[in-house]
């Protein structure tokens, strides 16, 4: 096939000819090595590749964004402790990332990409979130929000809107939840919870937190305060510790919910009422905990409701 474009008679080509393809990851492993050796020695070539990569980022942005399942973030954050950071920009370490190699002025030391990094070399299986079920509800297509993932095809607009409303704020809250895990995880395991409220409940909470498989996460509540959820699949129980929650007055109460989001309909089951003492509370949820359930807290009329009547101030994924 004849081409009006310049023919490729310059094959085999020098590494400079490969830079665009290199930036597109369209080179073979051998070519990649050639290019990376060249990059280590040539600032001009590095600048060239940098510019191609900026352009390639444009290609990346042409791919429509897709929100990953919310469980992915927690799963990543939970692994940071086992993923030490490399030293600064000019120091060649053994853990040069795949694309990091050529960014390093001493890249020649290690063309072997991220496989040398501890976390990256862990078997893929072990990197999956432990409860496989946490990934299941959003398959096959991760959706923008949990609400959308749960909205069955054909649900009416009003119905979808209602669901979305219920989950929109927790979505935002959940987004920050995982980060908080790291900050408090150590503290909760140590379990020196002291507080004015609920010593009996506190002991029960501690029992749950002491279970082998206990997990915990903390989020800020909409409207102020902070709530920690601790749960154990083995025990089939979960509990919350709340701090600094605002007073809701005598005619209203906080209500806990187990929410099953696996079916077509969101199924919220009341899991107990509580009224914080000075903003603090320890509460073991009523009913059986199963992994994958969402846990939510709403403010309801005194005496509680059969189904949530307001947006949750907090929602947890388990």
């Amino acid at each position: 096939m004849t081409e009006p474009e310049l023919p490729g008679r310059r094959d085999p080509v020098g590494p400079d000819e490969l830079l665009a393809a290199y930036a597109l990851d369209a080179v073979s492993d051998e070519e990649r090595e050639v290019v990376e050796r060249h990059l280590a020695a040539s600032p001009e070539a590095r600048a060239e590749v940098d510019a191609y990569r900026e352009a390639a980022a444009g290609l990346a942005d042409e791919a429509a964004p897709v929100a990953p399942p919310t469980s992915l973030k927690a799963s990543i954050l939970a692994r940071l402790d086992d993923a030490p950071q490399v030293a600064g920009p000019r120091v060649g370490g053994p853990q040069v990332g795949a694309a990091g190699a050529d960014r390093d002025d001493v890249a020649s030391a290690d063309a072997a990409p991220a496989e040398s990094a501890p976390a990256a070399s862990a078997p893929v299986e072990s990197l999956l979130p432990q409860p496989a079920t946490s990934l299941a509800p959003v398959a096959p297509a991760p959706a923008a929000t949990p609400a959308e993932a749960m909205a069955p095809v054909g649900a009416g607009p009003a119905e979808r809107a209602a669901r979305r409303r219920w989950f929109q704020r927790p979505g935002a809250i959940l987004a920050s939840a995982a980060a908080a895990v790291l900050l408090i995880a150590g503290a909760v395991v140590g379990l020196n919870w002291t507080g004015p409220a609920g010593w009996g409940a506190q002991r029960q909470v501690e029992t749950i937190a002491a279970a082998d498989d206990a997990q915990t996460t903390t989020v800020e509540a909409a409207g102020g305060g902070e709530v920690t959820l601790v749960w154990s699949e083995q025990l089939g129980r979960s509990a919350i510790r709340a701090e600094r929650l605002p007073e809701v007055g005598d005619d209203r109460t906080y209500e806990l919910w187990y929410i099953d989001a696996s079916g077509e309909e969101l199924d919220a089951t009341p899991a107990g009422l509580f009224d914080p003492d000075g903003g603090a509370a320890y509460v073991v949820l009523e009913g059986e905990f199963e992994p994958g359930l969402l846990v939510g807290i709403t403010v309801e009329p005194a005496g509680g409701s059969e189904a949530p009547t307001s947006d949750p101030i907090v929602a947890f994924e388990t």
């Binding site: 393809a21 942005d61 791919a63 990543i76 692994r79």
Partner: protein, 219 residues
């Protein structure tokens, strides 16, 4: 397609311009409140991540994960595998963030580079070249149906990218798309298209040079 896109091509947005190399200039740039001080840029967040700031890393994830996952999904179609790859990508971002050098490019481009490389590694190990180009083929400019969580910022970038890509010649776009979205090597592209390898190299290079210009990247 191309005609309607012309205005954007005349004046590429300066969003993705590369950072100034001069430290003095950079300080000036930093001082400009292009976003509220309480709203750090993606670049700021990646730099802070490189200093070991986990909260910044969490915020970085929130700001970028839909874009990164969208790219990974584009190459690695299987959702479960795409999640694994994305997880590996973010762990690598965390680990290698200290090496990020904002003088050399934008944070998002650095992150996309990591993500693309890993996604390509995954598809190359998991799928034959034939499978890959069957997937790319006709739909390489289609938007997947299972989207989308887009901020205004992302939407703008997305449109810009579409427009720039649309402005390439058909032959250039075909090669670039097969390489970038299909994970094919130059040789595989040549084989698939039945053209000499040198032709593919030329198209890729010319296409990328053009794209660079359209997107306002200065070398």
């Amino acid at each position: 397609m191309t005609v309607a896109l012309a205005p954007a091509l005349v004046a590429p947005l300066p969003v993705r311009r590369r950072a100034a190399r001069s430290a003095m200039l950079e300080r000036v740039v930093d001082a400009q409140p292009e976003v509220a001080a309480s709203d750090p840029t993606v670049d700021d967040l990646l730099v802070a991540t490189g200093a070991g700031d986990r909260a910044a890393f969490g915020a970085l994830y929130d700001r970028t994960s839909a874009r990164v996952f969208g790219l990974v999904r584009r190459l690695v179609v299987d959702p479960a595998q795409a999640e694994e790859v994305t997880q590996d990508v973010y762990l690598e971002i965390w680990q290698t963030a200290p090496r990020f050098d904002r003088d050399r490019g934008s944070a998002i481009s650095w992150m996309f580079t990591l993500a693309h490389r890993r996604a390509v590694d995954r598809v190359r190990s998991a799928q034959s070249a034939r499978d890959r180009d069957l997937r790319v083929g006709a739909r390489d400019l289609d938007v997947p149906v299972d989207t989308v969580a887009e901020s205004a910022e992302v939407r703008i970038e997305h449109e810009r990218a579409r427009e720039a890509l649309a402005a390439l010649s058909d032959l250039q776009r075909e090669c670039v798309a097969l390489a970038y979205y299909g994970g094919l090597t130059q040789s595989e592209i040549a084989e698939r298209l039945g053209v000499p390898l040198g032709t593919v190299k030329t198209r890729l290079r010319d296409g990328m040079i053009r794209l660079r210009r359209l997107l306002g990247v200065t070398a």
